[in-house]
Subunit: 213 residues, 2 copies
DNA sequence: AGAACGTTGTGAATGAGTTCACAGACTAAG
DNA sequence: CTTAGTCTGTGAACTCATTCACAACGTTCT
């Protein structure tokens, strides 16, 4: 099976609507329901569901519960997929806060910061450790995902250490492109680039509307 | 002229390398220099520069200063493009901090929050106003861009008010897709979706590497 | 001056992602 | 039971983005 990245992003979005509808007691949805919510075409929705092998019924559409289950099989985090946060500055702490409040299913096992002031403190239920403990924590706590929230000039060093310690995926907030070997995956979330895109588009020099990516 | 969104994102990234090189005294770059930094092909770089009408010279490549100037013409914010932040929670304040420290060229004219505790306070040089002042500030302060950092259930309401007040572009952190009329542009920056993508990729069920979007 | 090299600019080929369009399937109503 | 209506599943068409491949050019070396 090979599911494109784009499709994963949309599945994640579909899931939110499905959960809401399920909680409202709705049992069936049509492709155009999801399409309307996401501002895409019904054909796109059907194609996505085809990609993950989920099949609906003509005249009744898709089963909300069944589809949620199927998407969950793909997206739900496994218990052995821990997260580590590198950089407990303002952005890092905002992430901890957000994840603790909105996404308890993604437990951040530890935070790392080189500020001695922070080390030992517990931030939103997550203990902050010293820089040197990085490798031990990854090995001992089944950490597979790293969130990089350090300044640009140390991001590559951090990434190298994470990769050497066996990390599988990186969510990168630093404004640099991380060089990682094949088999390790990075997703950049560059706020400055996004802001420049919006500013450019708002200026009216182009016409588009885009998600994440 | 019509420059695709993707190209804008890459130009923004190129600019960072060019600035670094300029500060190191470098005067020329080849397409493969930029390509290596960004992990793309030289052909892509040349195509991008062709798109913005910048031309280099065989055997000497591109002029660092000239290219920076050209990209600046496209991306530099204009003085009449103010930014307003809606939602001064942890994420909103992290954004203020980040922008004030890293991007003084994007002045956030005001923050808005409905928490009376926050109203009147100055956060990183930016005053926090009450909910009801939103429309006045946008009109009086030449604000064209809104950063939406409120909870999901109020995001669409906020977006509607911003649009009615004449905003041109939105940077949206809320986990919903905002519905806006043609002529207003939104860029979603959905942390949960990005995290689910990384987790999925890290699980090894696909092979990819993606920026922003 | 001439030859060798490495780079740009770009038409054409390729590839990825999206949308079209319709056959087939199911439901509900007559 | 039959008909009308609506939706899914999907091959094919299309659109957009990326990469290939090479002529033309500037530089450097002899």
């Amino acid at each position: 099976m090979d599911i494109p990245n784009r499709v994963i992003g949309r599945l994640s979005a579909y899931r939110r609507h499905l959960r809401r509808w399920l909680s409202e007691g709705r049992e069936q949805v049509y492709s155009h329901d999801l399409a309307t919510q996401e501002g895409i075409t019904p054909a796109q929705v059907r194609r996505d569901l085809m990609t993950i092998g989920y099949t609906g019924s003509p005249a009744r559409g898709y089963d909300v519960h069944g589809l949620l289950t199927r998407i969950g099989e793909l997206l739900d985090p496994r218990p052995d997929e821990g997260i580590i946060l590198i950089g407990a500055g303002r952005l890092g702490r905002a992430m901890l806060d957000y994840l603790a409040a909105q996404h308890p299913e993604y437990p951040v096992r530890a935070a790392i910061d080189n500020d001695p002031e922070l080390v030992g403190r517990v931030i939103h239920g997550c203990r902050c450790h010293a820089d040197g403990d990085l490798e031990d924590i990854i090995r001992d706590e089944q950490v597979t995902i790293g969130i990089v929230a350090v300044p640009a000039d140390s991001a590559q060093d951090v990434a190298d250490r994470l990769v050497r310690a066996g990390i599988r995926g990186l969510l990168n907030f630093a404004p640099v492109r991380l060089r990682v070997p094949a088999g390790v995956y990075t997703q950049d979330l560059d706020i400055a680039v996004s802001l420049e895109k919006v500013a450019f588009l708002a200026r009216g020099q182009a016409k588009a509307q885009e998600t994440h990516e």
